[in-house]
């Protein structure tokens, strides 16, 4: 859907991340292959998310990239009824949510794939990753299982 819109001029598009931001570029690079990556310390096992260079749990560890299963739970959500953003104003009502991945990271995203987000999105709902493809990145969205 967003891809089609991108092709038309002047049609507002979803705001996309910068692919050259130094902490997060490896995460976004991996989304092209539809991999949701997070970091874990090889010394203290701390899960780090959003991505960084340093371990927040210890001063000596090295962070390794792991790939999440894509399974998660809606921790909390809201239905946006009003937005002045040129892209999102046409999407209302839509669901914004904090999703807890089973590996630990808490991710801000949208719950998609429902007819009526107002009645169908719930706290505690099981969801799984669904990728929205763009030219340079894919955007991680979630759909109820």
């Amino acid at each position: 859907m967003a891809d089609d819109k991108n092709k038309e001029k002047k049609v507002p598009t979803r705001p996309l991340p910068k692919t050259n931001e130094l902490d997060t570029q490896a995460f976004w690079q991996a989304t092209k292959d539809k991999a949701f990556r997070y970091q874990q310390c090889d010394t203290c096992d701390t899960v780090v998310f959003y991505p960084r260079r340093h371990c927040t749990g210890c001063t000596s560890g090295t962070l390794n990239w792991k790939t999440a299963s894509g399974k998660g739970t809606v921790y909390t959500y809201s239905i946006v009824r009003q937005s002045y953003h040129p892209f999102f104003r046409n999407l209302v009502p839509y669901a914004v949510a904090w999703v807890d991945l089973e590996e630990g990271p808490r991710v801000l995203s949208n719950i998609v794939g429902v007819d009526d987000p107002i009645s169908e999105v719930k706290i505690g709902q099981s969801v799984e990753l669904e990728w929205e493809e763009h030219e340079e990145v894919s955007i991680p969205l979630f759909r109820p299982v």
Partner: protein, 397 residues
């Protein structure tokens, strides 16, 4: 009381207009407010040796604001933590004065958010930012309102909090606003459709902005500003108005983490530090000036400040407990009308200090008889993601 009395609020001013129609700049609002707050204290520009500025005037603010005011301060503090900046400034001013580095501290705020048609709550937030966190979050279209709404949903889920309970906060602040001529004029100037006391039904039947938050649970977007002068005990003794002592302060931050409880704010960390320093308990507080960006902000912060247990806020606020004319039940909330119904130019923290000082001087339009202890609690940033909390306990002689 055994508290240390090392610094006091001695001068206050709230810029009266909430709609300057583009005719005044934020810097002009800051300077006008500063002059009037200094006059309120019986002080002059030349008495100021410390400035505190949240940076809303632009980059290099510590340098440029000193020149704009025409001051040569030797303490320059540019802590910018959103709407809680002014509680941080008050905390830091107290420390600077107690350490002997400053005698007269000046805090100012100015904004023309309304004149600029700045859609704080539902605007074009998102997109890539310079900060890595923004680069992860920006795609989702989270408005400011929906950020706070996510806290409300989780609070309802975990504790059974109801929309009607959240509405109590809106109707208490509106009651207080209707008694404050500046707040009534603000609502007129900002073209509120129905300027009157509200009921729980009014709130829960108002338009949904981001589930579960309704229009009447969201703060206004105004122009405005203000200033606060904080001084040493030696200076305070010779000021025009009675001193309002800073008895205790606390500062903290919170951010999203896997497994963290979103219904607990940074206030749970800052408040015990402030109450501990002041040597008092929440039950002794007469006036609660709590950042009311949204109804859920107040409910969460009341719990984190310790007025009731976490999760019990909904029951606790019910039945009009927060009204100014119910002393003995608990503190009066936001007796100026709050950000919901009096003044919210984007960073409301300075007004929390100003109205708390008014109450402790006996100058509020919703005066609580004999008010002697107040808490000002600012929440800056976004409650549902990363935010800062500043708690300031204030007391009169």
């Amino acid at each position: 009381m055994s508290q240390k009395r090392e610094a006091a609020i001695v001068g206050i001013h709230e810029y009266p207009s909430r709609d300057v129609e583009g005719e005044f700049s934020p810097l002009q609002i800051k300077a006008d407010s500063a002059a009037k707050a200094l006059a309120d204290a019986g002080l002059n520009w030349s008495d100021v040796d410390a400035i505190y500025d949240a940076g809303e005037g632009g980059g290099m603010t510590g340098l440029t604001i000193a020149e704009y005011f025409g001051l040569n301060p030797t303490v320059i503090n540019t802590t910018g933590v959103g709407g809680s900046s002014y509680e941080f400034h008050a905390a830091q001013a107290k420390r600077d004065i107690a350490s002997g580095k400053a005698n007269v501290a000046l805090l100012t705020y100015g904004s023309t958010a309304h004149s600029n048609a700045f859609a704080i709550g539902v605007g074009a937030r998102g997109g890539a930012g310079a900060h890595p966190a923004d680069n992860m979050d920006g795609f989702a279209g989270m408005t400011l309102v929906s950020n706070y709404a996510m806290v409300a949903h989780r609070h309802m889920h975990q504790y059974g909090t109801t929309p009607e309970q959240l509405a109590e906060i809106s109707i208490a602040t509106r009651l207080h606003a209707m008694r404050n001529p500046d707040a009534v004029k603000a609502m007129e100037d900002l073209e509120f459709l129905d300027i009157r006391e509200t009921t729980i039904d009014d709130v829960v039947n108002s338009r949904m902005i981001a589930d579960p938050l309704h229009l009447l649970e969201c703060c206004m977007i105004s122009d405005g500003g203000g200033a606060v002068v904080i001084a040493s005990p030696e200076v305070a003794r010779n000021c025009k108005k009675p001193p309002v002592w800073i008895l205790g302060t606390g500062e903290a931050t919170k951010y999203p983490q896997g497994g963290a409880d979103i219904t607990v704010s940074a206030g749970a960390q800052s408040a015990p530090i402030a109450f501990g320093e002041a040597g008092i308990t929440p039950a002794e507080i007469d006036i609660a000036m709590i950042y009311d960006s949204f109804s859920i902000t107040v409910l969460t912060l009341l719990e984190d400040l310790g007025f009731c247990k976490k999760g019990e806020g909904g029951d606790w606020v019910s039945g009009g407990r927060l009204r100014f004319d119910r002393p003995g039940d608990g503190p009066a909330l936001n007796t100026d009308g709050g950000g919901l119904s009096s003044n919210h130019p984007g960073m409301r923290g300075i007004f929390l200090l100003i109205e708390a000082a008014r109450q402790l001087r006996g100058e509020s339009t919703s005066q609580v008889d004999g008010a002697s202890l107040a808490v000002a609690h600012g929440n800056g940033g976004m409650l549902g993601s990363r935010h800062a909390a500043g708690t300031v306990i204030l007391g009169r002689d």
